[in-house]
Chain length 602, copies 2
């Protein structure tokens, strides 16, 4: 990736976010805690039970970044951290600074909230990243000892414990892929098979919270803590991918279809409730109180990527793209130094200084999101393309080079600001195919192969498959802005419309309006006008969209129910900015959904 938003995010990740994260693993306690566990340093354990995981995610971010663009400082950090972890690790392989320091008698005894396997999983994933980056060979060794300890206790030892927070399942499968050690896969499978059987002690949040209400093959809908459900799904598909157990894929696809149709925000975000950081009921999708935890967007990327690998179906790449450019990207400020934990689709002018909502923050007491974002941004290059026997699939469009064994493509594009994607064939065998994902939102798509237009008839999985393109393919996606409407069952945004362009969801920020954003209503069927590319202070490079609207002045006072007089209103232009770029200026109101009345307003 050499440019575009993805390239810029990677650059900012390297120059701003990762340095911040490296300071925070010291300040937040993760590294000092592990020093204490290694018998070094003074003081007491600091932070949450899962504080180790902040470091592990940071290690993974640094490892992927090192793989992307090597840096001796990164290598030194990875090596020093691996050595620290090796010193902190118990001789039997167990490693968790909180339990070693604070609760040595309760190791694996309170898995419902201990996050021990969750932390272990993040270490395993960091180790896989380090191995792929060719750095810190001690890290995979530490990870294997810890994984072997998990296997000894929970597979060979017969302990049927399950971590309240799924995460280790995918990590075990990844470590299996790296090492070929079948017991890791077997343990991942056992953990998934055993979920939903009441093996997790209820600590007052109910069995839905941790997806322990039904075996995974029986559950029909996503419930409880959103990140937990989504990490679990990724693990389920991972185990399917390595075992071929079709019942796992089937149940996960069934829940995906339900989730997409009834519990997914326009931005791709997941989790309708602050209470329990949870999924809501079907069609419960409030824009203002959307939780949409940044980590849930990441977990959704993991799941959709694996479903794409498992099925080749472009609908997973479509949702991946929607989530990437909206729910995920909005979590980070343009400068890479502030983060959202919660990603609502509406902020009112009088939002209160609550625990989560409001403005992005530099860091959080519970800092699961920022390093999770960093490891994802650093590894974005993994998600662009796949290859099967003779076909190279382009799933996401970004400028750069796509290399496979015998195919090399140069992609030139200003996507998603511009719909044209130029693909130059630098190297290819005599017989091959190129599959281009045609996003479902592109209404009129044009493709030229070596200068000649070809019919754009995507296959049933949403891909246009080209045989033996020789020199150049040009894809022209339709970036005409679109008014989109919610399904009538989504109560919270009834009578509203939103604006999209390409993969980007737009929003209306107070900073761009001449009227109170909470008083705006779109003129039915308004024209949507693209304002040319500009560099907006704070926001960065962007494309704005203008719509015709009315500012409605409805008097208030007394109970707000009854017969309201026809409101006065004035004609205004409403200006929309990409959602992922919001909250980079002031703390004003923001709305993705604007009222779009059916009847004229005086």
């Amino acid at each position: 990736i050499t440019g575009g938003p993805l390239g810029r995010w990677q650059q900012t990740n390297r120059t701003a976010s990762i340095p911040l994260g490296l300071r925070q693993v010291e300040q937040g306690g993760s590294v000092p805690n592990l020093r204490l566990a290694a018998g070094e340093g003074k003081g007491g354990f600091r932070g949450y039970r899962f504080q180790d995981s902040d470091l592990y995610k940071q290690l993974e971010a640094v490892a992927w970044e090192h793989a992307r663009q090597p840096d001796p400082g990164y290598e030194a950090f990875l090596t020093a951290s691996a050595e620290l972890l090796a010193r902190a690790q118990r001789p039997d392989g167990y490693l968790n600074s909180h339990y070693q320091l604070v609760k040595p008698d309760l190791i694996y005894a309170e898995l419902e909230y201990s996050h021990e396997m969750y932390c272990a999983g993040h270490l395993l994933q960091a180790a896989v990243a380090a191995a792929r980056a060719g750095a810190a060979p001690l890290l995979p060794a530490v990870a294997r000892r810890l994984a072997d300890h998990l296997v000894a206790v929970f597979l060979d030892g017969g302990d049927d414990g399950l971590d309240g927070h799924p995460e280790v399942e995918t990590a075990l499968v990844e470590l299996y892929r790296l090492t070929g050690e079948g017991s890791y896969l077997a343990l991942a499978r056992k953990l998934i098979d055993n979920r939903g059987r009441g093996l997790i002690r209820d600590v007052g949040l109910g069995p839905l919270y941790a997806q322990d209400h039904l075996p995974v093959r029986e559950a029909d809908t996503a419930v409880g803590h959103a990140v937990r459900q989504l990490y679990l799904e990724a693990g389920i598909v991972d185990v399917y991918l390595e075992t071929g157990d079709r019942s796992l894929l089937d149940c996960s696809v069934r829940r995906w279809e339900d989730l997409v149709a009834t519990k997914t925000y326009l931005t791709g975000g997941h989790g309708s409730r602050h209470d329990g950081e949870a999924f809501g009921e079907r069609y419960e999708l409030p824009p203002d109180r959307a939780y949409n935890e940044s980590c849930a967007a990441i977990a959704s990327l993991h799941w959709n990527w694996r479903l794409l690998l498992a099925t080749g179906d472009g609908r997973y790449a479509d949702l991946f793209e929607r989530t990437l450019y909206n729910a995920f990207a909005a979590a980070t400020s343009t400068d890479g130094l502030r983060f959202f934990y919660v990603n609502p689709l509406q902020r009112r002018a009088d939002y209160s200084a609550d625990r989560y909502d409001g403005r992005r923050r530099e860091w959080f007491d519970c800092a699961c999101c920022p390093p999770n974002i960093m490891r994802t941004v650093a590894s974005l290059g993994h998600y662009l393309a796949t290859r099967d026997e003779d076909c190279l699939y382009l799933h996401q469009y970004a400028p750069g080079t796509i290399r496979s064994s015998d195919v090399e493509l140069a992609v030139a594009t200003d996507y998603p600001w511009d719909g044209r994607v130029g693909i130059s064939v630098a190297r290819a065998p005599a017989t091959w195919r190129l599959a281009l994902r045609i996003p479902a939102w592109s209404r009129t798509t044009t493709v030229l192969v070596d200068g000649t237009p070809v019919p754009v008839t995507p296959d049933e999985r949403g891909y246009l498959v080209l045989s033996n393109p020789r020199e150049h393919v040009e894809l022209r996606l339709d970036l005409a802005p679109r008014l989109v409407f919610p399904h009538p069952r989504i109560d919270a945004v009834r009578g509203c419309a939103a604006v999209e362009r390409g993969p980007l969801v737009y929003c209306f920020e107070q900073a761009d309006q001449s009227a109170d954003v909470d008083e705006l209503a779109l003129i039915p069927g308004t024209e949507l006008r693209v304002v040319g590319m500009q560099d907006l202070p704070g926001v960065g490079r962007t494309v704005l969209i203008e719509a015709d609207a009315r500012a409605i002045h409805q008097p208030s006072g007394g109970l707000p129910y009854g017969d309201h007089p026809p409101p006065a209103s004035t004609a205004v232009t409403a200006t929309a900015v990409p959602y992922f770029q919001w909250d980079n200026r002031d703390g004003g109101a923001m709305r993705v959904w604007l009222p779009h009345p059916f009847e004229g307003i005086r």
Copy 2:
């Protein structure tokens, strides 16, 4: 009160709810805890820090019920409880079983969440009720010793501590009214004056949670935990009433006006968020995730009653009535044996078995609501009428007798099922006035005095004042059902309408529909047809309302955003039942607000 819904609630309270509550104060631990504090019995403390308050509210309920209709069993319970409390009380007057048993070293040291003054306040209120009922004279003595201890520590002793949960303020004023002891009023005033000055340690919920963000005279809007804000307001008005400090009344009225216009549900309920049991932002009023804690409705009754006493303004009696018949009444099942903690305005068919929502329950681990309901129902007779020099004000209409020193009225009515209220003057001086509240919802009101129609021109406070009615007054309120619409700023119910009749908000329960209640949409401007009085199994005596609607069949599948095909729909009759009677049949879906599109549906 001799009949009507209020009379029935009082009867059910006596025969079903109070007996249940009396069992629960034993089973839940309140009485056993106090026995332990008295050095009697065995075992450990059970329940929450504020477990004592369950007993205190139960004592208050029993005392009011004993005043209403004496019963030797009630008297024995009050006396035995007072004796137990006297034995449990420390020699210095302190009394709180949790802190005496579990945390004797932390008495008054963690007031931010200890609920010690909250519990004390409920004891004081129980004692006032017992005194007014002429029962258990030991109870006021125990309460005075505890109040004196509070005064010694927090007024004379100079301790500036504040309870995280307001409640004691009103109780101290009530005890001052009973005893004339000025230090109780002085302490209440100090607690109110000191709030919002950062004297409450933040335990991670932020200063808004316990209204410690701004001094009460400076705060403009209700924030944080709803019950806390509303109890605080009642205390503020109580202190105004006894001190004449107008700045207290002014700030409370300012917040009332803001609250009513922007943070009040159609049912009168308060608290838009499960997270923090809190008020939301202005116009944040989701019907499905409405918290509307039953205790918040009770606290609102307290506040509005005091504002009515302070100002004579009928708008407070109007909101009192709305809250009484809807937010408050819905908390209890028809049989008086099950309670809602949370009172949403919508339940979807697939609501999950969450911590709070769903069906009414017999009891709760945190059982603040049921005994709070019982004490309120038992004392409903207090809220019907007031008297000043020569005028008797009728605020609420219920069949029964209204007695003042030299006035006695017999009220005959089937209100709110029927709009006719007959008032017979049994006794009255030669010169007097009768003021009838004309509810703001009554569009066409007729009044006959001694058989002669009189012009119905309410004064600026919403009362029709009649001079010297001699024999009979007949008030005919307009019970024509009404379609009501939300203010356009209420995002969550945009494009919807609700049905009201008299003071009753209606709702659409699945049990009464021929189509999926979540697919119903009202025909714009539909006729509303009153179905005559009936006795509906489970629900009891009720009046249903029918409306013309369409059942909309919109296909689902894939992301629920975009251009939806015009939905097919079928004509149906939608049938509404009073909201306070919902959830007395099955656990099906319910909606107060139904879509009311502006455009025709195919």
